[in-house]
Symmetry: C2
Subunit: 190 residues, 2 copies
Amino acid sequence: MAIEQLGEIVKDIHPYITAIHLREKQKTARELFQTVELLTKNNIPLSKIMINDRADVALVLGARGVQLAFHSLDAASVKENFPQLRIGSSIHSYPEGLKAKEKGADYVLYGHVFQSQSKQGKIPKGLEELKKLSNLDIDVIAIGGITPDNTRQVLQEGANGIAVMSGVLEARDPLVAVKAYSKALNKGGE
Amino acid sequence: MAIEQLGEIVKDIHPYITAIHLREKQKTARELFQTVELLTKNNIPLSKIMINDRADVALVLGARGVQLAFHSLDAASVKENFPQLRIGSSIHSYPEGLKAKEKGADYVLYGHVFQSQSKQGKIPKGLEELKKLSNLDIDVIAIGGITPDNTRQVLQEGANGIAVMSGVLEARDPLVAVKAYSKALNKGGE
């Protein structure tokens, strides 16, 4: 997706979401910086922007935080050196979640829960592990194949929130889609 | 080059060099971290290690600094947010050198000066631009095709130091090679 297109979509939907995670792994630091500049020009608050992997880029921009994967720096090292940043750890199992909590991550991004477009052919992790994770004292954001229809189930299994890619960005009308998710989330919280 | 082999070479040669610039662009943050750990296990001081592009990795490791390229974060932003780090900017012309100085880089890495193995087919930048750069009030490290034989000429044209890749790492005996460079550097400084 072109940066400009992303900017247009996010401009409309950001009031309905708590965070935008820039996952662009192929982008250089300079390109990431420029992407975030374009988002902030579209009135998207820095406090909602999470940067993938690069704590330095997040710090320089004043973004909300950094999303760490297996190939990233250790969450404990990032927390110690970048206390300003909110730290998310991407995990795929309960043991990884436990480790992330011990390392001081502020939340975990767990998935993929269901079959999803971006993980085609890979077996989804399912809801059982999510339930186990919900017993850890850390926020769990579920990702992967989440639709407005199954959002409530995901929350009932213990997720504190959801993350969505194609469900919003590839929707015919992203604003309509994000509102449908928002409605499902609020119902689930009742 | 395998990390272990690099560790073995650097263990021998580091007393003769002032900095090791880890250029591994394909390495993840985690791999860079592990590479530096291996170097420090081989008694190579962190104060000699410069990390490519990733200020976050340099900070977390306590390395000497970060080497920034065009695709990296802006030198001024890095300097402001990472005052602990020494900042080098990779440049290819006098105007780029001027900009790097204005942005607060601690030194510039200028090249490639001569034909070099790693820039085959590209026209070298030559010594004239180096002479101009030497009039800027910033350290200029020359890179590209530098041999013990032409080191003195490079210093005479105004370089404050040299950086070498294949001339040492691909030498039959890297220690002999680095001593030859060291000798040429000391002669040049007389």
